[in-house]
Structure formats: structure tokens, C-alpha cells
Symmetry: C2
Subunit: 444 residues, 2 copies
């Protein structure tokens, strides 16, 4: 194995409330947290106390949910949220998603590099292509095919990185006595012309302490792997189990090698959700409470669970507060099309009620551990030591206490076990991630 010995942690910020549908209704949560930048700052400060490597703000420029029962999934604006955090923290990395399809490369380059300078080298850009039709419609467009979207992404990243390098590393002279502000021989246009994007440059922003922002990537498929292998130092991935995580990580590393890079210079972060309690029962009760807020969702979830284990489950035919009858369980099998199915079946066979199996998060978007801090640490250790990832993108169930609980309870265990650093390795995101300094375009 060539991975570092210690895992890395990203805290994924979800619009102020946490990952769960009803988090905003939990006691202690401010229902208006969406518009409260202080809340972002406070949580990032707590994460920094816990030595999290970075916060990560996912983004799609569209309203993608029904705000009747549910809160927005994305912040009012990711760059403004990061700037607020940048000015009130000193070590934690700051990563946000910005679409390569619905932003001009010059605008991306400018805001991210300015933020990188302001934060003294702590910024990362998660470059995604955006396939959400509602987002496209906000920009008067339709979603292009996968090939075009990734061709745009490649042009966008190349122009952005070239613009980042267009103010030479040593161009800033600041010689007030001699009257030389900058050496203009080192501040040069890039004059790039692609099929979809073009930019002249230069971008008049000096280097940050880490040179320029770190590129992250989150897309899947052949094109996503290629983009990651070419440009990314970090990849946010969403595997449901160790086996598929390992495969994905190996594919990413191989893609980096194909582009002439050291595979250790690309880190994969697996999405992970947790609910903490002093006991597993307490953690589960926290999740049951979240479910009780939305009884209308239960019938659909029960049917969905049924489809994962090959049973026609329905709230009208089974008692969801009890374990499934043995005769039903005897016919159950894990759907080969859903990697979450084996865990769902396992919990049903352990005799948990249907509702409690759902409360364990078996149909969530990421793997979920509802349990004690030890159980959460065990899960992270197992995945990490199996080579499933280089770290985790941790999504709290409920942000208002979930972040602090993780920092106070889980982080010390990971540190005790030698799995997580006790302090930041350096001052910049690149130093803390263990990826090389870069300035300007990636060298072939």
C-alpha cells in the first residue's frame, strides 16, 4: 500500500442544517440557519479545533427540492460562505463546488484565486460539470450531453489553471523606492482558445502561499476518471461499500498514473454520514425522531426497502414497528443492483423492526453509522485500513450539534488509535493534504 498512514477528514456543510431531511426541525436547530453565515463560521471553527483538513460546500445553482417540508441543499452562495470562514479561521481548508458549465473560466479563476490569497493558501475548487436540468434552465440552457460537458470541463480547468499562473511567481516586486510594482515580463496573457471557452488574461492576482487552489473532482464514469487523473488532487466519491470504494480508488490512482502522475498525489474522500449517541439505542432514537417528523415519507421508504430485499413491503401489509415475520424473511434476498441491499437484509435478519432498519439509514445517499463514537471510529478505521479511501467527507446528520459531537467524541478516538493527525502538518491545504505545490497549468 502506498497510502499515507493517517486518514484525512473533510466536513461537508449542508446549507446550515445537516444532511437529514428534517434536521431543521430538531430542538436546538435555528430554522433560519440557511441565511446565517455565522452558523457556517462557527461550525468551521469547531471543525478546525478538531483538525479537520477541510470544509467542503457542495453546490448546484438551482432549487432542487420542495421547500415545503425541506430545507435547501445548497448555501445561498458558496464563495461568500467560504470567504466568511476564511477570515475567521486560520488552518482549515476551504473547498467549494463551482460548475464548469455555467461559469466563465475567468470568473472561476478570479474568485478562487482571490479567495486563496485571502485565506493564505487554503482553497480548493471542486470542478463539476452539472447535469441538473433545473440548473441549466437558470442559465437559459439545456443540459448538454456527457461528452460536451466533460470537454467543457477540461477546457475550463486548463484555462483556469493557466490564468492562475499568468501572474508569474516572482512577478511581484513591491519596490516602492525604485518604483517597480511588478515585473510585467512575468505577467503575461495566456491567449487560450478552445472549442467552448477562451480567455486572454492575464489574471492580475499574485500567488498564494500554496501557489494556487487545489483541484477537486466528483464526477463518475470514464470521463470523470479521466478528469480526475489529469487534474485533480482530491476526489469526493460516494461508494456504499468497501469493495466498490477500493475499486473506485484504484481506478482513480490508475488514471493518475496514465497521465504521468504519482498516484499518491490524488486522494479519495468517501462520503459518510453518522448519528452519534452515548449508546447505539440513543443514536437510533435520534434518527427515529428525525423520521417521525415526516410520517408521509414512511410508506415510500418501506416500499423502497422492500425492493432492496426482494419483498413487496407496504405499510398496509406489514407491521413496521415489528421485525418481519420469519416466513417473509425466508424469501428475502439482497438486490444485486443496489450495493446497500446486503446491509439492509442483514439488519432485517437481526430482528430489527422495519422502521429501525430504515432509521439505520440503509437507503441514505451515503453509508450511515448510527451508534457510539467507538462504533463510528471502528467503521472509519475498517474502511481506511482496507484501502477503501484516503479519507472521508463527513456529513453530520444535524449540523447544530453533530459537528461538535464528532470533534469531541470521535476525533480523540481516531487520534488515540494513530489514525488521524493531532495537528495540522502545515499552513496550506496542499501541505495538509500532502499534495505537491503547483502553479499554472499542470506540466505534462
Amino acid at each position: 500500500m502506498t497510502s499515507r498512514k493517517q486518514m484525512q477528514l473533510a466536513l461537508q456543510m449542508v446549507s446550515g442544517y445537516g444532511a437529514e431531511f428534517s434536521a431543521w426541525r430538531m430542538p436546538g436547530t435555528d430554522p433560519a440557519a440557511y441565511a446565517d453565515t455565522d452558523a457556517y463560521v462557527r461550525r468551521a471553527q469547531i471543525a478546525e479545533q478538531g483538525k479537520f483538513h477541510m470544509i467542503f460546500i457542495a453546490d448546484t445553482p438551482a432549487l432542487t427540492v420542495d421547500l415545503g417540508p425541506q430545507t435547501p441543499m445548497f448555501p445561498m452562495d458558496p464563495m461568500l460562505a467560504l470567504l466568511a470562514v476564511a477570515r475567521e479561521t486560520s488552518r482549515i481548508g476551504l473547498v467549494a463546488t463551482l460548475s464548469t458549465t455555467f461559469n466563465y473560466p475567468y470568473s472561476i479563476a478570479r474568485q478562487f484565486k482571490a479567495l486563496d490569497v485571502i485565506s493564505r493558501g487554503r482553497v480548493g475548487w471542486n470542478a463539476v460539470t452539472t447535469s441538473e436540468p433545473l440548473a441549466a434552465a437558470n442559465f437559459g440552457a439545456r443540459v448538454a450531453g456527457r461528452e460536451e460537458r466533460y470537454a467543457r470541463a477540461q477546457e475550463s480547468i486548463e484555462i483556469v489553471q493557466a490564468l492562475w499562473g499568468s501572474w508569474g511567481e516572482n512577478a511581484w516586486k513591491l519596490d516602492a523606492e525604485g518604483g517597480v510594482f511588478a515585473d510585467m515580463d512575468q505577467v503575461r496573457p495566456v491567449n487560450l482558445q478552445g472549442e467552448y471557452y477562451a480567455s486572454r488574461g492575464p489574471l492580475p492576482i499574485p500567488p498564494s502561499e500554496q501557489g494556487q487552489p487545489v483541484i477537486f473532482q466528483a464526477g463518475g464514469g470514464r470521463e470523470g476518471l479521466e478528469l480526475a487523473g489529469r487534474y485533480a488532487s482530491g476526489v469526493y466519491a460516494n461508494p456504499y461499500d468497501i469493495e466498490s470504494a477500493r475499486e473506485h480508488r484504484q481506478a482513480i490512482r490508475q488514471s493518475a498514473v496514465r497521465f504521468g502522475r504519482d498516484p499518491d498525489e490524488i486522494k479519495m474522500y468517501a462520503g459518510f454520514m453518522f448519528s452519534l449517541g452515548a449508546t447505539e439505542e440513543e443514536a437510533l432514537e435520534r434518527r427515529r425522531q428525525l423520521m417521525r417528523f415526516n410520517p408521509a415519507e414512511i410508506p415510500g421508504r418501506v416500499s423502497y426497502l422492500g425492493s432492496m430485499v426482494g419483498l413487496p413491503l407496504s405499510v398496509s401489509t406489514v407491521d413496521i414497528h415489528a421485525p418481519l415475520p420469519d416466513e417473509l424473511l425466508a424469501q428475502a434476498y439482497a438486490s444485486p443492483r443496489d450495493p446497500r441491499s446486503p446491509r439492509a437484509l442483514q439488519l432485517l435478519k437481526q430482528g430489527l423492526s422495519v422502521l429501525d432498519v430504515l432509521a439505520h439509514g440503509v437507503i441514505n445517499y451515503h453509508p450511515v453509522v448510527a451508534g457510539t463514537a467507538e462504533q463510528v471510529a471502528d467503521f472509519l478505521q475498517e474502511w481506511f485500513e482496507a484501502g477503501a479511501c484516503d479519507g472521508f467527507s463527513v456529513v453530520p446528520d444535524i449540523a447544530h450539534d453533530g459537528v461538535a459531537d464528532f470533534v469531541e467524541q470521535v476525533v480523540p478516538i481516531l487520534q488515540e488509535r494513530g489514525l488521524f493527525h493531532r495537528d495540522y502538518e502545515g499552513a496550506t491545504l496542499r501541505e495538509n493534504m500532502g499534495v505537491p505545490y503547483q502553479y499554472g497549468a499542470m506540466q505534462p
Copy 2:
């Protein structure tokens, strides 16, 4: 006259150094201020102590100057600078330029409204069309004709305002117990389709304390006047004398009336530069010092001054350290093509040396007063009482001490004379400007 009795003041921030070419070389100035967001914040805080109505950050997304001798004219990023200021001030307005040509309306709407919410209703957008070819080239474009640029601007502002109104004023329910986050009947798509721009919406951002950001405008000509009359509550203008300022202000007010608006709801801010000293001689010496940093500029400026007063002046034919000989002055006349010429000729006839006439700023982009605080206050009073403007966009010569000097020396005189408020009228930019609340598209 229908103007308010007191003038309004905007502080124009110029990339951290001040308006003058060589400000960055003055003792006490940090040559690296360009990358120092703290410097922006500190100056805005001082301006807020002086009850300035707003700070204003002009912007063109391009490097437009030679960074050899000179500093950038625009900040690393205007929106990030404003966000930093927003979080560390509480009353002062926050206005930035963003191009209607090189930004998607959805992106403009999102960042400005988020900033407006974060600042609790203190934000303004200076909507400009951008005619700088270097900026166009950064976005892979050429500068379009005036007609197209203004057609784009109109579509952009209409879509932006519609998006701002797409989250209904009373949509936010925040009923955690009842489980109603928002009333989706009040969060509606806008579905706007123009010739150049389109957007579906909605934009999921609630109203700020002032509803939505204030629109500013800075363009000239028939199209600029029309845009101002239709949409703007504030106009930044660059008149050189009282007469042309009054004409421009009347034209703006008439344009507002043509679009069915109350002309008192549109405020004109005249650009104005100053250099302060305990005596006029001290103020002039400050400006002489700035000129001495760039001896290479002198010959060109002398020739330019000559063209303003009909004389073939050159450093090789006249002693620039002495007044012009009477026989030369007898032939001089103020160029009718340059409104700055009468003042240049007046100073030459007063017997000032050629260099001192230049030091008075007669060929600067804005009117300049180099003198005592009383002289600066006199100038502002004369213009204001002549109906030349509703206020001023004040540009300090050297930011590092110029802002504080103005606040400490000029503001108290204006307050003493009853020309400037002693405290903010309200909490929002609209309240402090005296312009009405607005939400969503302008009602016809």
C-alpha cells in the same frame, strides 16, 4: 428644488492604495495592500465612523494598466471584498460594479442577494455594460456595439430583479413544529426569455431587510440615461464642472419621470478627488511628492496641459518650475472641448508654476481640490447647493491616510454646516439613501 437638504457621500475604494498613480509609493502605504483584505475592512470601518452612506468598488474584469510603475485599478475580487466588509461593519452601504455583459443574470442575482441578506440590507449593484476590449477578451468575446450592450443590460437587470422577487416576501414560514419551512406557492419560477439572456428560477434566497439590492448605474449617453431612468436609484457620474453636473442630473431626473418615477428617488453622485493639508501649500506639496515619483510622466502631462490652453507647451521650451511668461499667457485660451480647461487657465494666470498647476490635478479624471479641510468642504457645499448632485463619490488620493483625514477633518465641517447627517437615518442602504423599498421587478 426637490433635492434633500443634506448631501450623501460614497467612498470609492481603489484597489487598496488610492486614486493617484504613485500612491503605493508614499511613506506609510503598504505596497502589498492590493492583496490585503484587512486594509479594505479598516478603511470601510473608518468611513462608517464618518457616517459615509456607502463604499463603492468600481470594477472591470481585466488588467488595464502597466503594473511596472502602477498598481491595479480594481480589487482582486469586488464581491469577496464587500463580503469581508459586510461582516465587520453594521451600517455603511456596500456597492460594487458587476458587468451585465460578462456575467450570467442568475449569478449576479445570487451573489448580490446573498450579500444583501448577509449584510442585513446594505448592498447595491452598479450595473455597467463594460466596453473594455481587454475585459471582453478575458471572456472569449469582442466588445459588442452600444445598442447590443444596453439591450443586454436591460435584459440582465430585468431578469436579476425578477429572480430577486422569486422567493416571495412572506414565503419563509420557518414553522418547525408544523413542518412548514416555506410556502412553495410563493417561491415561483420567473421563466424569463430574452434575446440574450434567459432564466427559469426561482432563486432560493429570502428577502433582506431592504427587500433587495439597490440598482446603481454609471454609463453615459442616451442609453445610459434610459437605463438609469428605468431602474437606477443611484447614478455615479463624472462631471468636471457645476454646469455640466447640473445638466446631467436634470437629464437623469427627467429620464426617471419619463418612466413614471418620482425624480427624488434617483440620486446622482459626482466623482470628486481631494488632497488634504493643514494649509493649501501642504496639500499641494503632498501632490508634488506624488508627481516626483514619476518624472517620466511629466513631459506628457505638460504637453497635455498645453493643449488644454491652446499653447504648444514642452519641457524643453518652458521652465516648468516657474509661472508661464506673460507673452505666452497672453495667447492662452481655454479649450472649448475640455471642461477642465478654464480651471487650468485660471491657475496659470494666477501665476502658479506649470508643475503646480499640474499638481492641482487639472488633468485628473475627477475634479480635484488640493487644500485645507475648509476648502474641500467649500467645494462640496458649492456644488451641492448649486444642485449639481445629490452627493459625491469621494476618491482619496492616498487611501492609507486620506480616508481617515477626510473623516476627521472634512466630515465635522460638513456636519457643522448642516450639510451632512450626523448619524445614519436607518439600518439599510435604501433607508440611508432615501429611496423606496423594492422587491422583485420594478412596477410599471
